[in-house]
Symmetry: C2
Subunit: 364 residues, 2 copies
C-alpha cells in the first residue's frame, strides 16, 4: 500500500478531544540516537542507509505499529511528503530528506517515527485536544520497547545524546497547538508570548520554529530538555496550557461583553467571504476559518459545524488541494479551487446569528 | 409641510429610465442672475434677503411647481440639508447657506431651483437613466417661463452673466452620473478620463467637483458654456455618454470572457460582506454595493433586486441613517446601523450564482 492509499484507507486520528475548542492538538516527541552510528547530519549516505536498515525493522516490529505505513522517504512523492507536513505528521526538514531517511506511521496516525531526521529517531505521539499526559505515555511506551531492541546513545551525566545540544538530556519536546483568536483580537497576544517565554517555554507558529501564526494558531512547547524530568516537563506545560485556555476564555468573555459587535463583525465577514469568494489564498482562508471557528465557539453557528471547519483547515492547504488533481496546479489555480471547495462546503451553512446576551439567573 | 414631511409624502423620482444599468441619472442645470441685483457672493445679507423675496414667489408660481416644497435655507435643519445633498438635489455649497438663500423643489423631485447659491438662480432638472434631452427640455421650459417674470442679467456679446466666468454664456451644465465598475476593475478608467477630458468634458466623483469616485460612480459634464449652443452641448454630451456606455459594456464582456472568476470573486465577496458584516463604513458600503449592482447586471442576482440596491446607495448615507434616530449618532454608531440595515435588506437575497457562459446560437 503506498502512502496515498494508506492515508485514504486509514480512519485517521479522532476529531474530538478534551478542551478542543481551544487546544487543537497535543504532541510529545522524543529524540534518540543509536550508539555507534554517526548522527544523520554527519553520516555519509551509505552509513545513513545502513542505519535506516537497522532501525526501521525494529520500529515496524512494535505492537503499536501493526497495520502501519512504513517507507523510505525517497519512496514518497513530493506531494505525499507535503501532505504529511500539512497534517503535522512529519517536520518540514524531514520532508526534504530522501534516500537513507524513513518514516513509520501508525494506522490511526497517532504515532509517527521519523528515522534519520536530525537524529536517528524522532518518535512522536499526536492527540486531539489537551492530552499531553496520554501523548507522553504513548510515546514513552514506544521508547521503552525500542530501547530493548536498540542500544541508545546515552551518557550517565548528560542523558540521551542528540545531534543538537538543545535536545540533549531527555530529548523531549512537549507541545500543544492552541487556537487563540480572542487574544489576537484583543491585541494581548504579544504580552502572552512574552510571559510564556519567561517561563522558559517557546511560542511558535502553525508549522513550528520560524513559521507564522496563521489562523491564530500558536504552538507552545518546552525549550529545555536538560535538568528536568520528562514527567515534570509534561506537567509544567500542562499547567501553562491550562492558564492559556483560561486567558483565551477570559478574552472571549471580555470581548463579548465590551465589544460584541466587533467580534460578530469579524465572524460575519469571515463567513460571508468564505461562503462567497471565487478566489482565496491559503493564508486568508486560514485566518477566516479561524474567525468562523470562533463563531462556532460563540454559538453563532451550530457546534455540529466544528469538525467541518477543522477538516477545512487541512483540506484547503496547498498539497491537499493538489492531490485531488492530476495536472500540476499553479498558486492562482489553487486559489480558485480552494474557493470552490469553501463555497461548496460552507455555502449550505446557515448565516451566522448573533446569540442573545447570556440570560441572568432571574430571567430563567 | 416641512421638508422631512414633504420628502416622506412625495412619490419621489421614478426609479427606472433608459440605460439605467449604467447611467444612474441625467441632469441639466442653468445658472441665471437677475439684472440690477448684486451677485449673491457680493451682496450683503439684506440684499440677498431682498433678492430671495423677489425671486422665490416667481419660482413658486410656475405651473411645474404645483405642490412643490419651497423654503428659505435657514428653515432647514442641518440634517435636512445633508439629506438633500445625499439625494443630489442641492449642491454642498448651497447646503452651507442660510438666511437669504432658498430652495423650491417640485413634487416629484425632478425639478429643483436653488436661489442665491453662487448665482441668483440655479435651476436643475434631474432624470433617471440617460435622458439628457428630456432633462434639458424640462429646465428650458422653467427658464423660459421665469424669463417672462424676471429680467435676467444678459449681454448680447457674452450671453447670460454669471458670478463665475466658467458659467458665462449659456450658463448650462449638462451632466450624467455613470456607474462604471468594469472599467475600474479592468484598470481602464484613467485612460477613459484622459480621453473624455480631451473632448472638453470633465469627469468628477459622486458629489461633483473635487469629490471621490465612490462606488465606481463618475459624473461626466461639459466644461465650457461659451461659444456653443445649449442643444449642441446636450447633443455632444449625449454622444460621449453613449460611447462610455459602450466602453463599459465592452469592458464587462471582456472581463467575463477573460477573467470571469475575478469578476465573480469581487461580486461574491461584496455580497458576502454586505449581508454579514456588523459594522461598515459609508465608503466601503458604496464600493461593495457597486460590485453587487454589477452582479445584478451580470445575472448573478435577479434583476428585480436593482431598485433595492439603488435605494441602499442612498439609504446608507450618513444623513439618511441619522434621520431614523432622534439622538445624534457618532460615525461608529452609524457604521453599526448601516451594517444592520444592509444585513436586514440583503440577508434574504439569495447567494449569487455564477451564470453559465452565454449559449452559442447552435446550442439554443
Amino acid at each position: 500500500m503506498n502512502l496515498t492509499e494508506f492515508l485514504g484507507a486509514s480512519p485517521g486520528a479522532s476529531r474530538e478531544g478534551p478542551h478542543d475548542r481551544i487546544v487543537l492538538s497535543s504532541r510529545v516527541r522524543l529524540a534518540r540516537n543509536v550508539k555507534g552510528l554517526a548522527f544523520p547530519g554527519w553520516a555519509k549516505k551509505p552509513e545513513r542507509v545502513k542505519a535506516l536498515e537497522l532501525i526501521r525493522p525494529q520500529v515496524e516490529g512494535l505492537p503499536q505499529m501493526t497495520g502501519a505505513y512504513s517507507g523510505s522517504m525517497d519512496a514518497l512523492t513530493a506531494l505525499e511528503r507535503q501532505i504529511l507536513v500539512e497534517r503535522h505528521l512529519i517536520s518540514r526538514e524531514h520532508a526534504a530528506r530522501s534516500v537513507g531517511s524513513g518514516l513509520v506511521l501508525s494506522r490511526d496516525h497517532s504515532l509517527c517515527v521519523m528515522i534519520n531526521e536530525e537524529d536517528h529517531l524522532r518518535m512522536q505521539s499526536l492527540r486531539r485536544g489537551l492530552q499531553l499526559k496520554a501523548a507522553w505515555q504513548a510515546v514513552d511506551e514506544v521508547d521503552t520497547q525500542l530501547e530493548e531492541r536498540l542500544e541508545y546513545a546515552f551518557s550517565r551525566e548528560l542523558g540521551y545524546l542528540t545531534a543538537c545540544p538543545t535536545n540533549l538530556g531527555t530529548g523531549i519536546r512537549v507541545s500543544a497547538m492552541l487556537h487563540l483568536p480572542a487574544l489576537v483580537l484583543a491585541e494581548q497576544m504579544n504580552q502572552v508570548i512574552t510571559a510564556v517565554n519567561k517561563l522558559g517555554l517557546a511560542v511558535r507558529g502553525l508549522y513550528g520554529e520560524g513559521t507564522e501564526a496563521l489562523g491564530n494558531v500558536f504552538q507552545v512547547s518546552n525549550q529545555m530538555t536538560l535538568g528536568e524530568g520528562e514527567a515534570e516537563i509534561v506537567e509544567r506545560l500542562n499547567k501553562v496550557v491550562a492558564q492559556l485556555i483560561e486567558h483565551e476564555e477570559n478574552a472571549r468573555a471580555t470581548l463579548l461583553e465590551k465589544k460584541p459587535k466587533m467580534v460578530f463583525n469579524h465572524v460575519g465577514r469571515a463567513y460571508g467571504i468564505l461562503a462567497n469568494a471565487h478566489s482565496i489564498s491559503s493564508k486568508e482562508a486560514m485566518n477566516l476559518l479561524s474567525l468562523m471557528r470562533l463563531g462556532i465557539d460563540l454559538d453563532c453557528f451550530p457546534g455540529s459545524q466544528r469538525p467541518l471547519l477543522d477538516e477545512l483547515f487541512t483540506a484547503t492547504q496547498p498539497a491537499h488541494l493538489q492531490r485531488q488533481h492530476t495536472e500540476k496546479l499553479s498558486a492562482d489555480e489553487r486559489d480558485l479551487l480552494r474557493a470552490d471547495m469553501l463555497r461548496a462546503q460552507l455555502g449550505p451553512v446557515a448565516r451566522p446569528v448573533m446569540p442573545p446576551p447570556p440570560a441572568t439567573p432571574d430571567a430563567k
